[in-house]
């Protein structure tokens, strides 16, 4: 199989972490797809031209959407249920957090973080979205998902944590926003990233891009 990724993208980081953690490098080739997602070859694999994309063996085609890729990799290879529990209730909670990340948490990130990719961002919305993170979503993360455990509903990190933590790095693009992020969130972010040393290179790539960003919005007040 081939896992097509964009090296600095947190949407790719979770999938890379699963491959490295489960030691699947002999089964899954990690391919840097930067600059290639609009080629005819890539579009034939994934007409939605996005990453991560998991190209499966034989005629099984490909799947994309980072959470779907992580779930598949775990279902196929994580027989112990280490990163994606086999217990149905526990898996239900991980699924809920993965979906919350999609429906609720991640939409607050683009206007804050996509400045580092040179994309136009709405500064007013960036402030509004950050306020939502501070007033609501970080509290859900800390007081609900991390209420009794160091990772989301779990003593050990799962793919739910891999969906959330790498994304938090985006906020570093705006130093004054980052100053206002609760310490408990920063500690969680560090805890998850440190649990997956195999992805350090990719985590550092995004960290470097965000902390050294000095373009429009870098100095904005939250």
């Amino acid at each position: 199989m081939k896992l097509h990724i964009l090296p600095p993208s947190p949407n790719s980081h979770g999938c890379i972490a699963v491959v490295k953690h489960l030691k699947l490098e002999d089964k899954i080739e990690i391919v840097n797809a930067y600059g290639k997602t609009r080629t005819d070859e890539f579009l034939a694999i994934n007409p939605c031209h996005c990453c991560p994309t998991l190209e499966m063996d034989g005629d099984d085609g490909a799947i994309w959407e980072s959470n779907a890729v992580m779930r598949f990799l775990c279902k196929k290879f994580d027989t112990e249920g280490e990163l994606y529990p086999t217990d149905i209730v526990k898996a239900g909670r991980v699924d809920m957090v993965l979906d919350w990340r999609q429906t609720t948490f991640y939409p607050c990130i683009p206007n804050i973080g996509y400045v580092v990719f040179g994309m136009p961002c709405d500064e007013t919305k960036a402030k509004e979205d950050f306020k939502k993170l501070i007033d609501v979503h970080f509290k859900t993360l800390l007081d609900v998902f991390l209420k009794d455990t160091p990772y989301c509903f779990s003593e050990k990190p799962t793919i739910a944590d891999l969906a959330i933590a790498p994304v938090i790095t985006f906020i570093k693009a705006r130093a004054k926003f980052w100053d206002a992020v609760p310490d408990a969130i920063k500690e969680y972010h560090t805890r998850v990233l440190e649990a997956f040393p195999g992805v350090e290179e990719n985590f550092k790539m995004l960290d470097g891009m965000t902390t050294s960003y000095s373009g429009d919005g870098a100095d904005a007040e939250p």
Binding site: P47, C48, L54, M56, D60, G61, I63, W64, E65, S66, N67, A68, V69, R71, F72, K75, K76, I88, V89, A91, G92, R93, D95, M96, L98, D99, W100, Q102, T103, Y106, P107, T140, D143, V144
Partner: protein
């Protein structure tokens, strides 16, 4: 278990369809609870601090989960016959999961300005036009030419929870008649095909359909 729902909400309809299809309410395994007006009570918030629906309350003090796709997955995993709606084969399941994630990451966010005025939320009419253009130019082609390319349902000959995540939200477009006229016939046919496959949830589908079809407030008569 208890499934707390909002009867009119498309996000609850998929879960309701699963319960009815697997006869979980008839067999006493899942009690459907109308949570309209109750999601901010202390009791509900103790169960779900995010005060949203659908919420699946487990038995035996095992707590609750929310997020519609997570609930549908759990209902299928925990009950006999669930494989019908959420295939066990890893590759097929991965494709179903991908469609559910696409629903939350891509198509559903582009319904906000098109539909939420029906729930009394302020929307931006310029954004509504832009979002509809994206549906026509990007999301509907992905649905028809990728997910439904070779099969009548998303990557499947039979409807699954991926279809239950996608089809009910298409009803929301009926709130703007001139927009709905421009929805491709193939999308309308797919949407009807999914609805017809889950007659047990008809009552709920009809509630939303009636609300949207009869809506005549701001934006109802807008041009796409």
């Amino acid at each position: 278990m208890k499934l707390h729902i909002l009867p009119i909400s498309a996000n609850s309809h998929g879960c309701l369809a699963v319960v009815k299809h697997l006869k979980l309410d008839e067999e006493g395994k899942v009690e459907i609870v109308d949570a309209m007006g109750k999601t901010r009570t202390d009791e509900f918030i103790a169960m779900n601090p995010c005060h949203c629906c659908p919420t699946l309350e487990f038995d035996d003090d095992k707590g609750a989960i929310w997020e519609s796709c997570a609930v549908m997955r759990a209902l299928c995993e925990m009950n006999a016959g669930g494989e019908d709606l959420y295939p066990a084969d890893p590759i097929t399941r991965a494709k179903i999961n991908m469609v559910m994630d696409w629903k939350t990451s891509s198509i559903y966010p582009d319904l906000f300005h098109l539909a939420y005025m029906m729930f009394g939320v302020e929307v931006d009419e310029v954004m509504a036009k832009k979002q509809f253009a994206k549906l026509l130019e990007t999301h509907f082609p992905v649905l028809l030419n990728v997910f439904l390319k070779d099969t009548p349902f998303c990557f499947s000959d039979k409807p699954t929870i991926a279809d239950l995540a996608v089809a009910p939200i298409i009803t929301l477009l009926k709130g703007r008649k001139k927009f709905y006229e421009k929805v491709p016939d193939a999308v309308k046919e797919y949407y009807q095909r999914v609805y017809d496959a889950f007659p047990g949830a008809n009552e709920y589908f009809k509630m939303l359909d009636d609300m949207c079809s009869n809506y005549d407030g701001p934006g109802a008569d807008a041009e796409p």
